[in-house]
């Protein structure tokens, strides 16, 4: 069973995307929900809220250990910030399992949000929705870059972790969710 972190944010949209693909998913709201997962999605939302709740609900360290031992993860927007080892403009660190540096609200406020089309990994013509999005400013050598927009890195893969600045759950395109499901098996 795949889980979607449901502390705050757009978790329902991810569950709907997985259901479209015939996969079941459960909402992860507390520590006991983390048992017996084959994979987890970290959705968009506010990273400050999600990170704080992970800590207060005693889920941060158990989830970090699970990811470090190979639990497949798909992280979008706020999820990318939770995963990043370094956050350029924020003193907080959360799961810190992904060796990249991320910049929060890198495109500015809501008026800087945008939709574009491009290549993500092997997928051509992927609709990418950026909402008050972060981008990645530095990556470790071992990290694969999946996508870029305007020379800035917006998608990466590192072992069991796929992390994106944008929101595939808001487009109708489920190819990245399929990719995630393929590594959960």
């Amino acid at each position: 069973m795949v889980g979607v972190l449901a502390l705050q944010g757009a978790f329902r949209e991810h569950i709907e995307a997985l259901n479209t693909l015939g996969a079941e998913a459960k909402e992860i709201r507390k520590l006991s929900d983390l048992a017996n997962l084959d994979g987890i999605i970290l959705p968009g939302g506010e990273s400050t809220v999600q990170g704080k709740l992970l800590r207060e609900l005693d889920m941060l360290n158990p989830l970090r250990d699970m990811i470090l031992s190979g639990l497949p993860v798909l992280a979008t927007c706020a999820g990318l910030i939770l995963l990043s080892k370094t956050i350029e403009n924020d003193k907080n660190r959360y799961l810190a399992t992904l060796p990249v540096t991320v910049k929060r609200n890198a495109y500015g406020r809501q008026l800087g949000s945008f939709i574009t089309n491009g290549k993500v990994g092997d997928f051509n013509n992927f609709e990418m929705v950026f909402i008050r999005a972060p981008y990645i400013t530095e990556v470790d050598n071992s990290v694969d870059v999946l996508s870029k927009y305007d020379d800035k890195i917006t998608g990466v893969r590192y072992k069991n972790q796929i992390a994106l600045s944008f929101h595939p759950e808001l487009s109708k395109d489920t190819r990245l969710h399929e990719l995630f499901l393929s590594i959960t098996k």
Binding site: A6, L7, Q8, G9, A10, F11, R12, E13, R29, K30, G44, G45, E46, T48, V49, K52, L53, E56, L57, C77, A78, N89, D90, R104, N105, G108, R109, Q110, L111, S113, F114, I115, V129, I131, R132, H167, L170
Partner: protein, 292 residues
């Protein structure tokens, strides 16, 4: 960016706020307290609704300088209110790059007939609604998020409960209708057929729906979530209480785990004094009736 994509982005930001608490703040310090407590956004305003009510007179958009000081204090989205129908206040808020405008009945309406044509703006709008018709009319005007009106500044949740129940009952009714009955329903609600069809097919509003008005405790917040709210606005309830930071943090956790009564019991302990509140039946100024 074309208008259709812009609207998708604006609905999308509201989707990212779901499961969260949006808090009214009047100073950068309060904004930081709210962010640290886990607010998913803050509403910047000069006076919280309880004080607007106490002060009386005409209540307007806040000083842009004050709003900017809050934008500089936090990294989460910042919202601000303009008067119903006051599209120049909205233009000003867009010019200072606010993340969301609340065209709000809490301020004195600038127009007793027309709401703002929100389709003219790039910046997103949230609007209050007491029932399905009001919600769909605001959406037709371009709102990308809806909240119940409740009765602001009272600390009494009864109106928010009434509005949420009414809206959901009306949604259930539309879902259960035959398709050939939807045309007449659109006429009765005074909204376009396409929006009624969307509700019929999807069983929900086409945009995110939060609860607002009178939420003062973790239990109030969880009540609204169990009644179907997708998140909660807390106005006067936090900074009119004895221990704002603790109350804010407890309300945030109660919204995430709104079905976990044991946890909410713990969260409700030792919160200090709640805002005193006033009974909406005992007040003269009924804000919820502003803007239909």
């Amino acid at each position: 960016m074309d208008a259709v994509k812009q609207y998708e982005l604006n609905k999308g930001l509201a989707q990212m706020l779901k499961g969260g608490v949006i808090m009214d703040v009047t100073t950068p310090d309060q904004a930081r307290i709210a962010e640290d407590a886990g607010a998913c956004a803050v509403m910047a305003l000069e006076r919280i609704p309880a004080d607007i009510r106490a002060a009386g007179g005409v209540s307007r958009m806040s000083d842009p300088k004050m709003i900017k000081s809050i934008q500089n204090a936090v990294s989460i989205p910042v919202m601000a209110k303009c008067r119903i129908g006051h599209f120049v206040e909205a233009q000003i808020l867009e010019a200072i790059e606010i993340d969301y405008i609340d065209e709000s009945e809490v301020l004195s309406p600038a127009d007793d007939l027309y709401h703002i044509n929100k389709r003219d703006f790039k910046v997103p709008f949230v609007c209050g609604a007491r029932d399905l018709g009001e919600a769909l009319r605001r959406i037709n005007e371009g709102a990308s998020m809806i909240r119940t009106k409740g009765e602001p500044g009272t600390g009494d949740v009864i109106q928010a409960v009434r509005h949420m129940r009414k809206m959901n009952a009306e949604i259930r009714k539309v879902v259960s209708m035959r398709e050939d009955e939807l045309f007449e329903e659109a006429k009765a609600l005074a909204v376009p057929y396409e929006l009624v069809l969307y509700v019929h097919q999807n069983g929900k509003l086409p945009v995110v729906n939060f609860a607002a008005g009178g939420v003062a405790t973790p239990a109030d917040a969880a009540l609204m979530m169990q009644l179907g709210a997708e998140g909660v606005f807390v106005g006067s309830g936090i900074f009119k209480s004895g221990n704002p930071a603790k109350r804010a943090r407890s309300i945030v956790q109660a919204v995430t785990n709104y079905r976990d009564a044991k946890l909410i019991a713990e969260l409700s302990e030792d919160l200090g004094e709640a805002m005193v509140g006033i009974n909406p039946d005992e007040i003269k100024l009924i804000m919820e009736e502003r803007g239909r």
